[in-house]
């Protein structure tokens, strides 16, 4: 384990009880992406997945091209601004040069000219960041998933969701429609302003430490949930947190939605006594419909047992 993994982990909980809600907060320091010590490892994995399963990992509709270029510009500019020792973006009129010293790559292209890039613009810049990038375009008072690069999904399919409206995307989530959460969150997203980005965290448990838990491969990795025991949960079960950022794009008026996925084994997580105790409260109270949707019903009891053992030992 890298020394600071625990410090860097985005702890997702506030209260001892968890329910679905709009838990978005304004970002202190506006950004679309972040570089962590896992950069090289995750970029390599991303590029491997994009090569072997392109349809699973990248999708776009033709009319979103202009907005894709804006995504490239926002992300590349932010990388250069936030990490000047690692990235640079040199703009001479329409001729741009993007340098990534972590990968030792230089890319020259003409902004707006697709033929000068090796991939579509969003697909191109996505290969330089750990985040999954989703582009939601705004039309007729709604948001549509018009393009995305998704290598590390939490069990959903980008190929299926392409072109969907915000509420259609969230149809599988129990209670969302009934409690009009989808209406309220959509209203919130439509009001997000350029220059004032928001972020939220989503969490789940995973049996195993796969980053690429796509729906397309669910029949392979889903089985691992059956292998969880009270004894192996500490090493085998991971808390999976997605830091999601929501940015309004000033020119095309789209929403850029970035997802940074973090995994931490329960053994490491439980080194923080407060986290252990709060997570135990949350998990023991978690309603079945949420546990079921998050895919942890099958091994929730084993994890609770494990957490209980840990708490006893610590006393």
């Amino acid at each position: 384990m890298k020394l600071n993994e625990l410090d860097l982990f985005p702890y997702p909980f506030h209260d001892d009880v968890y329910r679905y809600s709009n838990n978005s907060v304004l970002m202190d320091k506006p950004s679309s992406v972040e570089i962590t010590p896992n950069y090289l490892e995750e970029i390599n994995l991303k590029r491997k997945l994009l090569g072997s399963s392109p349809a699973r990992c990248f999708q776009s509709l033709p009319y979103a091209k202009k907005a894709q270029w804006e995504v490239l510009e926002i992300v590349a500019q932010q990388l250069a601004d936030s990490y000047p020792d690692k990235f640079s973006l040199d703009k001479k009129g329409k001729n741009w040069v993007f340098c990534n010293t972590l990968l030792n790559e230089n890319h020259s292209f003409i902004i707006g000219d697709d033929s000068t890039l090796p991939h579509e613009p969003l697909d191109f810049i996505g290969r330089h960041v750990q985040e999954d990038l989703i582009l939601m375009m705004q039309r007729d008072g709604d948001l549509y998933l018009d393009a995305g690069q998704l290598c590390f999904p939490a069990n959903w399919s980008l190929a299926f969701n392409l072109g969907m409206k915000f509420k259609e995307i969230h149809n599988p989530i129990p209670g969302f429609k009934e409690e009009k959460l989808d209406d309220r969150i959509l209203g919130f997203l439509l009001r997000v302003e350029a220059g004032n980005p928001w972020q939220r965290k989503n969490w789940s448990l995973m049996a195993g430490n796969r980053m690429d838990t796509s729906l397309e491969t669910y029949d392979q990795w889903g089985k691992d949930r059956k292998k969880v025991t009270r004894e192996n949960a500490g090493e085998f079960v991971y808390l999976r947190v997605e830091v999601q950022k929501i940015l309004r794009m000033p020119r095309t008026n789209g929403i850029l939605f970035t997802i940074h996925t973090y995994l931490l084994s329960l053994d490491e997580f439980c080194q923080n006594r407060k986290w252990l105790e709060q997570f135990y409260s949350i998990l023991s109270e978690l309603p079945e419909y949420i546990a079921e949707y998050k895919g942890l019903s099958m091994y929730k009891d084993q994890v609770l047992q494990y957490l209980k053992d840990k708490m006893k030992r610590g006393d």
């Binding site: 299926f160 392409l162 969907m164 259609e168």
Partner: protein, 159 residues
Amino acid sequence: MKQESGDTPMAAFIPGKRKYLFCFDEIGMSLLEKIMADIRAKDIPFEIFHFSHQESALPAWLSSQKMGCYLYIAVSRKYLYQIMCLAEAAGFSEEEVQLIGYGDKEIHLFCCRCHSITELAAAANKHAEQLCSCCGLLLTVSSHYSPLRNAYLGYPAII
């Protein structure tokens, strides 16, 4: 659940219910006009709901109904399945619902593993599992619908 699958869908009046509920889209409305006129004439309580795809008020409307209601759903066969799932979730039994679908008789099932489409009869039983016609994965039909793919999402039936 009584399901009309002929070419000219017809709704049948089922008498003796405490209250009638009508859920329809634009074309579906014309298929229920006669029954609604009869019920109005007889002064029997009724309520209507104009369905549009991704209507998030529908689950609340369905759940707010008391026992003893009879529900007519007249919509494009594309959405029939989705609404049927909502009605079931709101506690309606098969005997309390009449489905009147128009349009294509097939619904499409999107395989989560290989992205192929398998055609199913629109009247397919929600609980039946289906084999992907391309990769052979056994799928459960979900109510998650993609307008772009014109298909429902199939999840792996066995994990």
